[in-house]
């Protein structure tokens, strides 16, 4: 019956598509954004454990340690190796005179542990050259792009061999790498630990993190506990540190509320459109529902009929909405936009659509269940 009423059929599908699209798309952007908050942790795949000041709340909340903490950690039973990591936000001076804040990572000089997950040009070992830095490709092409000092000419991406002045120190680009996008989307610069602390403003403590590898067969969680007990520092497994960072953004920023509102709006609008259209459809077809009842259709049959129609439009709307959201994500891949469509989000969107169609069907079912078949004799 519903399929035959083209206007209402398409109206309900559009309402559900809109709801599914908005819920899926906004949740995917939210997930993408939240994934970026711990992008730096994801990129550093070698260490099992991150050791830091106990007051650190998230990855960019740097509370430096004394260098001696590194040796204390190295001395703990179950530690395979422990290396220093500098992480800080430093100003780079661009050719056109502008400044750009960069996320600078200083890697252990000897091992270069913590380097970028993928090199696009050059080699990680080139960091051992004098004043060497490696810049991420997105940063090189966007925020660190070389703009002509005076009008005319096209901007040129930062390349190997280019000089970059960081905090009044001369550095030279020896490689281009690819890293996960970070929350602030600042350029990411890799260098050695020693060079990083020589570039960074002088402070009494400069060690940001100690990266630890657990000995084979050692339980990282148990090792974390041992490190905490021995040093008084905080020690987290990589996943725990991601969770800490994720929870910080969830708790202390307005991001979840903003996206939550958008998702809720999609849900409410979808419910309103689908619910009202479905109910109107039922009202307009009461005569036929009455006819079916008079002809022997039980409430059970009519219930199944309404639910089947609701499920059908729900499945179509969900498919179109999720398809639209996926297309959106595909079209904006590789851009500043964060988009991460996970299986859980597909379930979330499906759950929301099921709720909408159940609500829409219920208000109609109530009307049909109470319908007196005697309505059929009213002209």
């Amino acid at each position: 019956m519903l399929v035959g009423d083209r206007g209402k059929y398409l109206g309900i599908i559009m309402g559900l598509t809109f709801a599914s699209l908005l819920i899926t798309q906004q949740s995917s952007i939210f997930t993408g954004l939240m994934t970026r908050t711990y992008g730096s942790i994801t990129d550093l795949s070698q260490p099992d454990i991150w050791v830091m000041d106990p007051k650190v709340l998230f990855i960019d909340d740097i509370k430096p340690l004394q260098d001696t903490e590194l040796f204390r950690v190295r001395g703990i039973e179950g530690v395979e190796w422990a290396v220093p990591l500098y992480k800080g936000l430093l100003k780079a001076r661009l050719e056109d005179g502008n400044f750009q804040i960069c996320n600078v990572l200083g890697l252990d000089d000897a091992t270069l542990i913590g380097g970028p997950p993928e090199m696009v040009q050059g080699s990680l070992s080139d960091l051992r050259r004098q004043d060497a830095i490696i810049v991420n490709d997105v940063g090189a092409k966007t925020r660190l792009i070389k703009r002509p000092k005076e009008g005319g000419g096209k901007p040129v991406p930062l390349q190997i061999g280019d000089i970059l002045e960081i905090n009044d120190h001369r550095t030279i680009v020896v490689g281009i790498c690819r890293v996960s996008r970070t929350f602030q989307s600042q350029p990411v610069i890799y260098t050695t630990y020693t060079r990083a602390i020589s570039i960074a403003p002088r402070e009494r403590k400069q060690l940001s993190f100690v990266l630890v590898k657990a000995r084979e067969g050692e339980n990282p969680t148990a090792l974390c506990e041992r490190i905490k007990k021995s040093t008084g520092l905080a020690a987290y497994t990589a996943q725990e540190f991601k969770d800490l960072t994720y929870n910080y953004y969830m708790k202390y920023t307005g991001i979840p509320i903003n996206f939550g509102i958008a998702v809720m709006l999609g849900f409410l609008i979808g419910t309103a459109i689908a619910g009202q259209t479905f109910y109107n459809f039922t009202l307009e077809n009461l005569r036929y529902f009455g006819t079916l009842k008079a002809m022997g259709a039980t409430n059970g049959i009519l219930l199944r009929m309404i639910l089947l129609q609701a499920l059908m439009v729900g499945a179509l709307g969900y498919g179109l909405g999720v398809g639209g959201a996926s297309l959106f994500g595909y079209l904006f891949r590789g851009t500043e936009l964060s988009f991460r469509l996970t299986r859980d989000l597909l379930y979330l969107s499906a759950g929301a659509i099921i709720l909408i169609i159940i609500f829409s069907a219920l208000i109609s079912i109530r009307k049909v269940m109470r319908l007196e078949p005697a309505i059929v004799f009213k002209a």
Binding site: T291, L292, T298, V376
Partner: protein, 235 residues
């Protein structure tokens, strides 16, 4: 009292509609028999209770007092689901406004009562096709009701009312929306296809042009049967 040979037996049937503090006595003690194989017309002025009476007989409305047996069964005593199933198996309906589902084809519309009874789709369609041939619509199987004339739609409704071989057909003003010629054709179709020795027809009508198709005419006024008269001259 024996009810053998009767499709419907009503004695002292009353029905009152209550709306707020207003009470309307729609049926005031109806006594009526409908015999097997009979076409009975219920006639009378608007608001006299004709529609209420056929609603009670067809089991879609419960009367307040009295006795109403349909094929010796007290439908009022049945539970709601049992009553609905009873209607589905034993009663066929023809409505003034046809009430064909506009989004289903003619054949699908006719197959609906069989599908409600749980018959397989193929069997239902095959039987629907047979019925449509009987009412002369074999060339309209796959068209939608909106593409048919009023007379054709009413013939589809008759096919739908008969497809599951009910024992009682209840028709509410089946010709009042049709012109005289079409109305006569519809009545001929009804008599030829619907009426048989073990099936009865009750037709509610205002249309005096079709009175001569009845076996008996029951005249109603103010909730009562005032006269039941035989009619002999069938067209």
């Amino acid at each position: 009292m024996s009810t053998n040979g009767r499709a419907v037996y009503c004695k002292g049937v009353t029905k009152t509609y209550v709306t707020g503090s207003t009470k309307v006595l729609a049926l005031r003690g109806i006594n009526l028999d409908v015999r097997l194989g009979e076409l009975l017309m219920l006639v009378g002025p608007s608001g006299c209770g004709k529609t209420t009476l056929i609603s009670v007989i067809a089991g879609i409305l419960d009367h307040d007092e009295g006795e109403c047996l349909v094929f010796q069964q007290d439908v009022r005593a049945m539970g709601q689901t049992q009553k609905t199933r009873y209607r589905g198996a034993n009663i066929g309906f023809v409505f003034q406004a046809y009430n064909l589902i506009p989004t289903l084809t003619v054949m699908e519309n006719v197959a609906v009562p069989l599908l409600i009874l749980g018959r397989p789709r193929a069997e239902a369609h095959s039987r629907a096709k047979e019925m449509l041939v009987r009412v002369g619509l074999e060339d309209k199987l796959n068209v939608f009701p909106g593409e048919l004339s009023g007379g054709q739609q009413q013939r589809v409704a008759i096919a739908r009312a008969l497809v599951h071989s009910p024992r009682l057909i209840v028709c509410d003003e089946p010709t009042s929306a049709l012109d005289a010629d079409t109305g006569r054709i519809i009545m001929e179709v009804l008599r030829q296809t619907a009426l048989s020795a073990d099936r009865s027809l009750i037709i509610v009508t205002h249309d005096n042009r079709i009175f001569n198709f009845a076996d008996r005419i029951a005249r109603m006024d103010d909730g009562r049967i005032v006269l039941v008269e035989p009619q002999v001259a069938h067209s």
